[in-house]
Amino acid sequence: MKFTCSTKDIASAVGAASKIVNAHSTVPILSNVLLSAGDDTIRVRATDLELTLEHVFPGEIQEPGSVTVPARLFSGYLGNLSAGIMELSGTPTRASVKCQRSNYDFHALPPDEYPPLPASQKGRSFAVDGKRFREGINATIFAASSEEARGAVLMGTLLEVSGDQITMVATDGYRLAKWQTNLVRSADEEGTIKYIVPSRALAEVARNLGGAEKVEVTALGPAGNQLAFAAAQTSIVVRLVDGQYPNYGQVIPAQFDRSVAVNTSALIAGLRRAELVAGDRASMVKMSVANQQLIITANSDTTGNAYEELEVEQTGDDLTIAFNARYLVEILTHVDAPQIKMEFLGPLSPAAIRPSDEPEGVRQMYVLMPLRQ
């Protein structure tokens, strides 16, 4: 195998691929990326068996073929090359690079041992706007569970496609994020389709495909248990989580009886200050709503007392409710709006948070469970 390409192209392709590679893998070849040359294009592929990323870039092919190189090492090397042209030739055991006045040989592993691409049988598909999809991913996946012990389902994010709408939901049982927008191209099948996608795979989709105008999403495999996300040069294939996602609709109260509208950045700043004091008490802050004011308090025997006063637009009865400040701040920082609305039912019932004015074409809301004192 032998090809010539731009150092910039290959550096960004290998850089993106190397982020997929599991540094602790016990299977040596999974630490490598696969480079395949043919038809005037070069493909870089990385996989951790759950998630596969492939990136294509142009080049001049002298001899078609494949080589595998250690991902971290090679990406580190490429990252330190200056812009220019390089030549790469590969054998089953060696990858040799010539670039300006540098010559490097990297130990390689036989490319035929590299895991094959996931099943290519295509199922139903739809398309989303890349930039909007990235916003949605960023606004939801943080709420997913990060604890393996609580199961892969809660570590995943639900993608629910129905008609021309996509809904994303993530929850760890304490907070829930829900985000909706319209598809660029509707699903080519009737009814609601649900996929539970590992949240870290969606993070890779946002990172690698977030700039694309259109991301094609296609179910793969005879059982449809894989999902491919593809735009111009990049595709990501992910194995879906097998399981039943909780019926999240049931934890979102249909109605609330009181609410406050409050300046987002003022609330975030107040909560962050109060949380400093509440640190050793499970970050507990109390929020009291009365007389068009929101009072935030926190206290701890070791640090002291916090008191914050904010002007709000209050509707409905007064209320005192306690939250984990960290959870609330995390939600608020994902709402891109100058003012938010918090809705309540009572001190032990779920509260809802949403932007006061929703951005066009997007519906976004969060549910947070309070603390019991």
Binding site: S145, S146, E147, E148, A149, R150, T171, D172, G173, Y174, L176, P246, N247, Y248, G249, Q250, V251, D280, R281, A282, M284, D301, T302, A322, N324, L348, P350, V367, M369, P370, L371, R372, Q373
Partner: protein
């Protein structure tokens, strides 16, 4: 001043408090398996010879009308929490020893003021929690604890400053901290039976009998116990570990031990009314290399099952193929006080998660 509090026949008293039909009757709190042991015996059962840690079948032999009730730990925790809150009022530091026992440092040098505090605590526990507590008051920990033991049940005993050595002198040597059955047997063979005799030992005899910690022991015997009450709030982590008699390779066996360690750590967290989010394990291999792994959970926990599950995941991340294990430990850190609880969507009745 230091007060030592101990709730009288704690588990049994909670049961009797909550069920009037059990009051005044010989009662044992115990599990139900064939190998179950008595966790606590009520004072009514004790004249029959029923003691804690005794096999249940033996207790039934001794006392035919013995009533046996299963333990109810959530209730014990709740009662314990209420008592510890009472300890905290007016205390400089509270050091829990178990759910029903604590040292409290009181910010006074006046023995009468300290005694009054202890009496107030006992009264409040009776009125507000419905239980009886015994107390010992002294300048130092060990004497306070011994005095408390003597005051039981439902009593209060104060040892005035300066009289500690005289108080201790006639007591059996086994009452001293650090003198276990083995040491005691050795002492008996040397005709040393009373704490006062240890207080009078020469340096040479001390070293011969107890090795390096002999002098410390003599200080204790002389009524010089300088150990401070360490506040639960200053506890940074709680851990439990065990060294195997034989190096272990068997994963099933390691998991079994991990479970026991998790239960132990959970109990101690409960004792200090703490919960933690960082759960880790420590392994010493047969080549004496030490490896640690840790993980975090989203909600602070003191649940044995959660700690065990997390510890098991840590264990999975250790390569055990090359070496056997000499020592295994479980640790919980990033502790917070058990004052708040994150409500989960899971706990609602009409839970969609069920």
């Amino acid at each position: 001043m230091i007060a030592h509090f101990d709730l009288d026949a704690f588990y049994a008293s909670v049961a009797q408090r909550d069920d009037a039909s059990l009051r005044g009757k010989p009662l044992a709190v115990s599990g139900s398996s064939r190998r179950a042991v008595v966790l606590t015996a009520s004072y009514e059962a004790r004249p029959f010879g029923v003691r804690s840690a005794m096999p249940l079948y033996r207790a039934r032999e001794l006392c035919s009308e013995l009533i046996v009730v299963p333990p109810d730990f959530p209730r014990y925790r709740e009662a314990s929490r209420a008592c510890f809150e009472i300890f905290e009022a007016g205390a400089r530091a509270v050091e829990g020893l178990s759910l029903d026992e604590a040292f409290v440092e009181i910010a006074t040098d006046d023995i009468d003021a300290a005694t009054a505090y202890a009496q107030t605590v006992r009264d409040r526990i009776r009125q507000e929690v419905g239980l009886s507590a015994s107390a010992g008051v002294s300048r130092q920990k060990m004497v306070a604890k011994i005095a408390c033991d003597e005051a039981k049940p439902d009593g209060l005993k104060t040892i005035a400053p300066g009289t500690e050595a005289d108080y201790l002198a006639p007591m059996p040597a086994g009452k001293l901290w650090g003198v276990g059955p083995k040491t005691q047997a050795r002492l008996v063979s040397e005709r040393i039976e009373r704490i006062g005799q240890i207080a009078a030992l020469s340096d040479t005899d001390l070293f011969r009998l107890f090795g390096r910690w002999g002098r410390e022991l003599r200080e204790l015997a002389r009524g010089n116990d300088t150990r401070p009450v360490v506040s639960d709030r200053e506890t940074r982590s709680v851990s439990s570990e065990t060294t195997f008699e034989y190096d272990v390779r068997n994963l099933t066996e390691l998991r079994q031990v991990l479970r026991e360690l998790a239960v132990d750590v959970a109990e101690r967290l409960a004792t200090h009314h703490l919960r933690g989010t960082t759960i880790g394990i420590k392994i010493k291999r047969d080549d004496f290399t030490i490896v640690g792994r840790q993980t975090t959970v989203a909600q602070p926990t003191s649940e044995a099952s959660v700690i065990e599950a997390a510890a098991n995941r840590c264990l999975e991340r250790v390569d055990l193929s090359a070496h056997a294990v000499r020592l295994l430990g479980v640790r919980v850190a990033s502790l917070t006080e058990e004052l708040t609880e994150q409500i989960s969507m899971f706990e609602h009745k009409e839970s969609p998660w069920a």
